[in-house]
Symmetry: C2
Subunit: 357 residues, 2 copies
DNA sequence: CTGTTAGCGCGTTCAC
DNA sequence: GTGAACGCGCTAACAG
């Protein structure tokens, strides 16, 4: 870039000198139009433009005012991964809607869990943080809390002293399972999102089940279990497969699951992406959905109704979660009210009566 | 939040005093571990923790160092809209990959075109900007340029002195049209993205065609025209419909287009979302794709191959665009090399031989 | 390894 | 409507 060296970074002072007024007056010209005559203001602004003044330095202003005009967003997953997750994107849409309304910027902070360099969080110049789905043992979580800024948590009901917005994951998952039970299914399989942040992938045993650090996964598993056990199904015999939330991996996992004997007639998937993968695998195996296999997803992202058969799924208000999180963060209210939003089962074409054996 | 009033914002100085060392030493304890003995460092850090010190104030640090550790991103569309655009999201994924690698944050700056309050751009504490698809006459564009920071433009080949990354939109669009021509299509219709930022929606007349401020729309239209005119088709007779890049609107527009006499046998859509809308409308009208109607999209987002029939489309390296833009911005190289990435036509199931009348 | 000295560029009283 | 003074909290030299 040429600018850097050209001018020795011209500042408020310089243009004050050029116009022959004091620094304050120039500052006022930019920030308080009502504090000086329009003529003078125009004169100053013009001089500034001529001299190529980039405007009051935002960093200096921030230091002075203590306000950044930005809200921070920390995801529990890596950024490229989050931007691959349509549920996260929908949430982001909600947040961005509020940002736009209040003219705040959105600082998305990457957080390499493994890396000691959690500097990004310490460096973030924001007025507060929204944390999205951080695992309980997350290093990022303590870093955010250390900043002593306002925080709102999303999908993390368990944090003390941190207002949160989310859904009743347990209840929502239960709805999905109950729906399938009403169709007389007996052979279930569960495609779960990650239980811990250790990149493990595979069947989940009892011990791992106990040590689940991802709240929503844990709660949804409980919801499935609630329903299944109520129907006298031995939950310990239900295969739970931990997957990456990714179509291709979901396809592989579904393949494994569908080759088990007895073959599941119903798949409970913790996201629509996982459900979609299962659907494609079923089609590839020439299994008819829902005649041979029922699938219920979670989230109700657009894909759920764009594909055929349309996905039966648990709808959750993703965008609204974002809106509320942002509003909660911005509201000065000391009342740390946590919001629990509603969900509903949307029955479409991927679920039906269990096949008779 | 409780923190604000509780402690009178404790600072470096305070903890220096408490431990009985100088401010610098405390600063070093945080930023340069190698500059003091481990014991002292631990002692300082512990004292800091006890006193509830949130760490060196990022704003003050920024002012001092002149570095923000963040890169700004400005979209040509409203934020909620951008987060609805899967092509933009894929681009974002690319940017975020680089951010994560270099531990930089990503500041997404909303920009209400109509609003005089373009403050967000002036206030953004970033080391540089990536601008994505800003219209030529955009107020935001001049604001960004005014900041005199490094800038990289995406999909905006025409800016002077601003390195850019993009594709050859004209050539890419031409491929789509040529493909359909090879199937002997004669009756075309074009579903275009916006030509200007005035929220107009409807058929595009010659005059509007002349005053197109959105580069990529303009270039793609030219590409379509190049191919069509080469095939002796009167381009002025080809209906061009300007749509919002949104599935529902695309469906309506497609309905209008497909009710024209003679009915188009081929639709050139400037995005996969538009193509998808057309596809659904065709199905709803009981038109067979591709037997009765061929459709070619643009972008090759996942949806293109997730739906049936799969979409024939022009693939562009969306993620790579993001990666390159970010890398270009971060590279100190004074060489303002603009990158033009390759595209290719992906022939799938939504295009075929023109129906015989 | 430690401390001293200087600002980074600005916003805000408060007098004039 | 204007200007002088003060300090936001920190880091970069450099000297010890």
């Amino acid at each position: 870039m040429e600018h850097d060296k050209a001018r020795k970074s011209i500042k408020l002072q310089d243009i004050a000198q050029a116009v022959g007024v004091s620094r304050t007056t120039v500052s006022n010209a930019f920030n308080r139009p009502d504090q000086l005559s329009p003529e003078l203001r125009d004169k100053i602004l013009e001089a500034a433009k001529e001299m190529g003044y980039p405007g009051p330095n935002p960093m200096a202003r921030m230091l002075r005012t203590g306000q950044t005009g930005a809200i921070g967003l920390v995801f529990g997953e890596s950024l490229p991964y989050a931007f691959n997750d349509l549920a996260a994107i929908a949430f982001l849409r909600g947040v961005s809607r509020v940002c736009e309304r209040v003219k705040a910027s959105l600082l998305i902070v990457p957080t390499l869990e493994s890396d000691a360099a959690q500097k990004t969080i310490e460096q973030a110049t924001v007025d507060g943080f929204i944390i999205y789905n951080l695992p309980d043992d997350s290093e990022a979580l303590v870093r955010v809390l250390d900043r002593q800024l306002p925080v709102v948590a999303v999908d993390q009901p368990s944090l003390k002293n941190v207002p949160s917005v989310g859904i009743d994951d347990r209840q929502a998952a239960r709805k999905a399972a109950t729906h399938l039970l009403s169709f007389h299914h007996k052979q279930f399989a569960i495609m779960a999102m990650e239980l811990r942040s250790d990149l493990y992938v595979g069947l989940v045993d009892a011990q791992r089940l106990e040590h689940c650090t991802h709240q929503i996964t844990k709660l949804r598993l409980r919801g499935y279990r609630d329903a299944l056990e109520e129907a006298r199904i031995d939950f310990s015999q239900v295969p739970i497969y931990e997957c990456r939330n990714d179509e291709n991996h979901a396809r592989e996992v579904a393949m494994t699951l569908l080759q088990r004997q007895p073959r599941p007639t119903a798949i409970l998937a913790m996201s629509d992406i996982l459900a979609f993968g299962a659907l494609r695998t079923a089609q590839q195996m020439s299994l008819k959905v829902p005649e041979d296999l029922s699938i219920v997803g979670f989230d109700d992202i657009p894909l759920a109704w764009q594909i055929r058969p349309r996905l039966t799924t648990v709808q959750q208000p993703l965008v609204e979660k974002g809106v509320l999180a942002a509003e909660l963060l911005l509201s000065k209210s000391v009342t740390k009210t946590s919001k629990v939003l509603g969900t509903r089962l949307v029955v479409r074409e991927s679920s039906g009566v269990a096949p008779t054996v």
